[in-house]
Symmetry: C2
Subunit: 228 residues, 2 copies
């Protein structure tokens, strides 16, 4: 039975840009598991009430429902061991650090560069919720958060130094082959790619070259994704 | 045959504070391998010329000489597989990210808090080298680099958020048991502990609790280390 996944969508239901949902899309593709995605909006909380919480991604695999991208990755590894996303308990424990780093450093950094662009592509029904919740979080307007990004982007790029250092030593964050670590960081970079035209990476950054290879994996899944 | 290791020492040869050397000390202890350390100063480059480079740690294990804490960890895992430091190729690949993060975020952040304190404990013969090389790197005096640390330490502590998030989910960075990831981060924290009295961690930080458990491991190896 095909796995279904509720996936954050923009005003155009084909526009999918959630960094958490993309981690799961890449993880499913890594496992070779087909998925049927269901477009979902921030305010569609009733649509995923069956999952016992209000955020995506949520997957349904037969009778099993799993929410939260990290929990989904653990579920997939347990239920469909090969090809491995982690390759052992210690690799999974170490990937949790990369996940925490992406959540705290990458998501926060990227939000400050593109949050107003996201507002422009989300569904009309989501806009009040999005503006109010994000402006409360940042303590200022979406427009003010994003202002000055042309100069601030340099500091964001500098914050990715650990990724750059690793990719100077091995082709994938997972080593000789991609692992869930690659899904985490590439999934996070799908967020600006699919919600904004702003270049968060410099063209000559080795991270951009690796991301290009990630976009081409899994039959070009990332490359084919709609952009605004 | 006992492994020997050249280990950075202060004016007091019993004072050992190199973050890279401590990663290796913890890794050796994790493997249950006895080590005989040789106190070494920054300017003793001829003493380790046999290693083909000029930095510590350097270990000699019978006929084998290995320099660089990461290369030493890989060597130890290959030569003495159990107990595992990594537990597989993907875990090692993911640990490289944690190593790169510690090198770029932790070492840079800590240096700006304690570099003048380090100057105070190193050997008299190392002082000109240390001041000149570090002042060239920072573009200002050691005293100016360290100034204002009481207010700046908050940002450093915030930069450790990924560690804090992980330790909220699992007891060790390695998961249910310590791995080389724990050696990396704890080894890095031995640097301020053994060269400065400045508290880089808040007492109520969960990272401090975990570090306390690391200090107690391996017969209290970290706890017993001389402090200035």
């Amino acid at each position: 039975m095909t796995i279904t996944m509720h996936d954050l969508a923009g005003a155009d239901p084909a526009l999918r840009f959630s960094p958490y949902c993309w981690r799961t899309r890449f993880a499913l593709a890594h496992k070779g598991l087909p998925v049927e995605t269901v477009p979902w909006r921030f305010t569609d909380t009733r649509e995923i009430a069956f999952s016992g919480q209000g955020r995506v991604p949520v997957i349904r695999d037969g009778e099993t429902v799993v929410a939260d991208s990290w929990a989904i990755a653990e579920y997939l590894e347990e239920r469909y061991p090969a090809p491995a996303l982690f390759g052992g308990a210690t690799a999974r424990a170490h990937a949790r650090f990369i996940n925490a780093w992406a959540d705290s450093v990458m998501l926060g950094g990227i939000a400050r560069l593109i949050v107003r662009d996201i507002f422009a592509v989300i569904d009309a029904g989501d806009r009040d919720y999005f503006r109010q919740s994000r402006e409360a979080r940042f303590g200022t307007t979406l427009e003010a958060v994003q202002a000055g990004r042309e100069t601030r982007v340099a500091a964001f790029r500098e914050s990715l130094l650990p990724v750059r250092l690793v990719l100077g030593r091995q082709p994938w964050l997972g080593g000789a082959a991609p692992s869930y670590a690659d899904c985490i960081v590439a999934g996070t970079l799908m967020w600006p790619r699919c919600s904004s035209g702003f270049p968060v990476l410099a063209e000559d950054d080795p991270i951009a070259a690796w991301f290009g290879r990630m976009l081409d994996l899994y039959g070009g899944l990332g490359r084919a994704a709609l952009r605004p």
